[in-house]
Amino acid sequence: MTAAGAGGPAPDAGPATKATPKGAAPGSMATNGAAPGSMATNGAAPSSMAANGAAPKSMAPFAAVLLGAALAAVPLFGPGPNTIRLLFVTLVWVTASVAWNLLGGFGGQVSFGFAVFYGLGAYAAAVALNAGWDPSSSCLLAAGVGVAASLAIGLPTFRLKGPYFAIATIGVSEAVRVVMTNVQATGGASGYRVMEHGPFHQLQHFYSALALAAAAVAVSMLVRRSRLGLALVAVREDEEGAADLGVNPLRTKLLAHAIAAALTGAAGGIHARYAAYVNPQGEFAFAISVAILLMPIIGGVGTIWGPVVGAAIYGLVHEEIIAAFPQLHLLIYGSLLILIVLFEPAGIVGLASRLFHAALRRRHRRVDAAAP
């Protein structure tokens, strides 16, 4: 059975043709497959959700569209500019949170360095806007800069495992902040102003943030169903074991890192355009990295909706509390993080689904008791 051709791709032809009769009919598309989705529910909450996984699975894209439509319709009800601002900021957080979850949740690589992508994206967009680029191009540039940074950071640090990787990302993000504080071309520590011509349309900003957040959730759903999603979960569970089955761990992590960085960079860019001002202490702050990490973990790491829920809560609560007690919200989130690590690793979404199923079971029991 050894193919005659020496070297090159020829040896592959042998097993490939041999494989054909074993494989099922080729050609079905990934999107309509119900089975691959099961992996994700298992990834989030091993056994409890696996049994009831069918319903939420098919409803998720539907719910996403509904939520997006509802948000898109909000301006019709004439909310004040403050409400729109709150929603705008929250949607930016949602994007970053969902992005972090691609690498940290599906792939298990906890990064404390996402402020690098957020900040570089913000600066890239700011510079591009000042150079006269249109908003969508500058947003694309922000994403591209994020990808470049993710590769530059990922190549050396992904050789490290678990906590070592996490610590290295702290070092990287602090080093980048120090450097940006000293780069005079973008104003150094005093920051950089975005001069955009034309009137300010708050709703335009709102819709661009909504579109980006929707794109992030869609990407998250697609990744989870894709080959990349399977590879990420396998790497999270057992990196060497995944490699023993043909998964290239470094490539998998780099790819997820790049997608996440693109989304986070774009989020930074969109926020920079809205704020019309960027500065190192703001965009590259360790607090930004911390927020991007806390939101998905608190919401429910490794799920589609956990990061969205976490970001929504963070965004709304953060904006409300920060005015009165600037530090109280981090105190609350620190305590929440402790509780989640110790008692509910699946986060708020996990807790909710557990309560929901417990309630269902109680009702079933009541029905069962009533039946005979």
Partner: protein, 291 residues
């Protein structure tokens, strides 16, 4: 016909101590080959090098006439060499089916499919690397049926019994469609009946065209299924030949009785009861220095 695998002077040292010393052998396609030796003989080190988990210090590995020396593990899998672990290591929170799907979608067949859909027997669709989600699930189910684990397809892999985890370990490796399957003590820790059925499975796998290199601490299981046996001791090849010839080889008897007592040579049936159950690849070299 050239051999499937040719190993030339394979050597691996850890901090100056040789865990493997100039080992050479050849495997022809289509057989079951045994690799035996006392604890710390270098079997697991050899397996780890063949599977790409360790780099050799010196030597060459030629597989299907292609130099695969020092290839990383995932590349070795795609070249057609897949291993199982002595202690099963499933992706615990994933379902059994999804575990197997990883092998299906990232193993050897997947790359061939991605390289050219035409190779899939002129299939109707341009599946490519993203097309195979449903195929993969179907294929995974077939593999699970082959190893008799289909009824547990939806269970989380971490909840399986030891015996079923061993089957899953085999199923995952098979899913990657190896032409050379490296089995590390697939019978240890199993009851005699379970071991018997795993050995039957190995014969079926061979019959379907996969060559097997079977590492076992326990002689009896090896003798039952192997066409040829390689005996190792102290990181070197001690002997090679048919099971019958090896069993009567004085050097082999000396090594077994001398190094690990009578226990290994005369232990019960297939149930080698894993007296070195926890030893992983990393532990082996340490052991070899003591031996």
């Amino acid at each position: 016909m050239p051999p499937l695998l040719r190993v030339e002077g394979l050597t691996r040292t850890f901090a100056g101590l040789a865990a493997l010393q100039g080992v050479s052998f050849e495997l022809e396609a289509g057989g079951i080959f045994g690799l035996i030796g006392p604890n710390g003989a270098g079997k697991t080190t050899l397996l780890a090098i063949l599977a790409g988990a360790l780099r050799p210090t010196a030597g060459r590995i030629v597989f299907e006439e292609r130099d695969v020396t020092g290839m990383p593990a995932f590349a070795a899998v795609r070249a057609g060499i897949v291993r199982t672990h002595q202690v099963p290591r499933p992706f615990r929170t994933l379902s059994v089916l999804d575990n197997v799907e990883v092998g299906i979608r990232f193993g050897r067949a997947s790359r061939a499919a991605a390289a050219g859909p035409a190779a899939m027997g002129g299939g109707a669709g341009s599946g490519g690397s993203f097309g195979g989600a449903r195929d993969a699930a179907g294929g995974a189910m077939q593999v699970l049926e082959r190893v008799g684990l289909a009824h547990r397809a939806r269970a989380a892999a971490g909840t399986l019994s030891v015996g079923d985890q061993k089957r899953l370990e085999l199923a995952r490796a098979l899913a990657a469609r190896p032409s050379l399957l490296l089995c590390d003590e697939v019978c240890s820790g199993l009851t005699a009946a379970e071991a018997e059925s795993v050995l039957r499975l190995l014969r079926e796998i061979r019959a379907a065209g996969t060559t097997i290199l079977y590492v076992e601490h326990d002689l009896k299981a090896i003798m039952a299924v192997c066409d040829r046996v390689i005996v190792m001791d102290h990181g070197q090849k001690l002997a090679e030949g048919s099971p019958a010839a090896v069993q009567t080889n004085p050097a082999v008897i000396e090594a077994y009785i001398g190094a690990s007592g009578k226990g290994a040579a005369s232990s019960e049936g297939g149930a080698g009861a894993g007296d070195n159950g926890g030893a992983a690849a990393a532990a082996e070299p340490a052991g070899s220095t003591e031996a």
